[in-house]
């Protein structure tokens, strides 16, 4: 019982002693959260920029020295208050639009966005027509179906 009491007193004393340090501690915590927020923004921008010395890799994913230095540039510019768009513009001014892993949807770039959809629709159309042709002989018993029937060994 007495031991428990001393434990409580000790705890109180410890926490009272901690109070003067809570100021800097809080500061450190705030700095850590803003740092991780900055890091998240760095990651977001860096993963949209192509590594110039790699094959189809972003500067976020690449271990290349140049990619690391470019990430540092991204971090510095974001920390200095530039917006992600401004940082990306800095790099596309230097390297051309090639550096952007996601091309801006305008002009000829639209091909990248439109062509897959068009190809998918065309493909669906072809599949639809072919399956309809396959289905039809069974219903109507057309010449081609009879022809198939005679050739297939049963």
């Amino acid at each position: 019982m007495r031991v428990a009491w001393w434990v409580v007193v000790g705890f109180l004393g410890f926490s009272v002693g901690e109070i003067p340090y809570s100021g800097p501690l809080l500061h450190a915590q705030i700095a850590a959260t803003t740092d991780s927020a900055l890091e998240a923004r760095v990651r977001a921008v860096a993963s949209e920029l192509r590594c110039p010395v790699c094959q189809g890799e972003s500067i976020q994913d690449s271990p290349a020295t140049l990619a690391q230095e470019m990430r540092t540039v991204v971090r510095e510019q974001l920390a200095a208050g530039r917006t992600p768009e401004e940082v990306k513009k800095y790099f596309s001014d230097k390297y051309g639009e090639w550096i952007l892993l996601r091309p801006r949807p305008r002009g000829w770039n639209m091909i990248v966005y439109v062509l897959p959809v068009v190809a998918l629709l065309l493909g669906a159309l072809v599949v639809m027509r072919v399956t309809r042709r396959w289905a039809r002989p069974e219903e109507s018993g057309s010449v081609s179906a009879q022809h198939v029937d005679t050739t297939t060994p049963s």
Binding site: T65, L66, T72, D93, K94
Partner: protein, 191 residues
């Protein structure tokens, strides 16, 4: 034989094959730079080795090569590294051109890219010297500013501070001469 079907298949395949064939003729690493025609990025680079002839540099190790002090002159900025094989091919071309154009006010500089200064100096010694100054680019800041994606790359900057030409890969004497003559002020060109 279903001629119609064959015609459709051919019509669909020909443009695709043509597109792929065109793609085969292109080098995916040759990316058009947006820099030519634009103002060259500012730089201040530490000199680690002066040019072999004082007329081709005027800078001493420890000095800083500043873009602001180069205005009014044609500048040839070559990015290189000791680990770069292609840089060996162009080294004598650059050194000779720097000597040729020294009295016509063309300034050459070799920017060491992603390399240890000691390795760079050793490489120059192995190559038998260098007529133009070698400078450092810590943390590749100037390289990124110039949109560099490999070595060697050579930039020719006009007297107005605008990038006139960018060369990817080892530069040759005809290319270098042509591009320098194109922008060299006619007054300086008079003998």
């Amino acid at each position: 034989m279903n001629w119609q079907r064959a015609a459709i298949a051919t019509a669909a395949a020909v443009p695709l094959v043509a597109l792929f064939a065109y793609g085969m003729t292109r080098d995916p690493r040759e990316i058009p730079s947006p820099l030519p025609g634009r103002a060259a990025p500012d730089f201040a680079l530490e000199v680690i080795r002066a040019g072999d002839e004082p007329s081709t540099g005027g800078l001493q190790p420890g000095d800083t090569l500043r873009s602001s002090e180069l205005r009014g002159q044609v500048v040839v900025l070559n990015f290189w590294a000791s680990w770069c094989l292609a840089c060996r091919d162009e080294h004598e071309v650059l050194s000779a051109a720097a000597r040729t154009y020294a009295d016509r006010g063309v300034r050459f500089a070799g920017v060491l890219y992603n390399d240890r200064p000691a390795a760079g100096l050793e490489w120059i010694a192995q190559m038998g010297g260098q007529s133009y100054p070698a400078v450092l680019d810590p943390r590749s800041r100037t390289a990124i500013d110039f949109g560099l994606y490999g070595v060697p790359e050579t930039f020719i900057i006009g007297p107005d501070g605008v990038v006139a030409y960018k060369h990817i890969g080892p530069v040759t004497t005809p290319v270098l001469t042509d591009q320098i003559e194109r922008i060299l002020p006619p007054i300086a060109a008079a003998p």
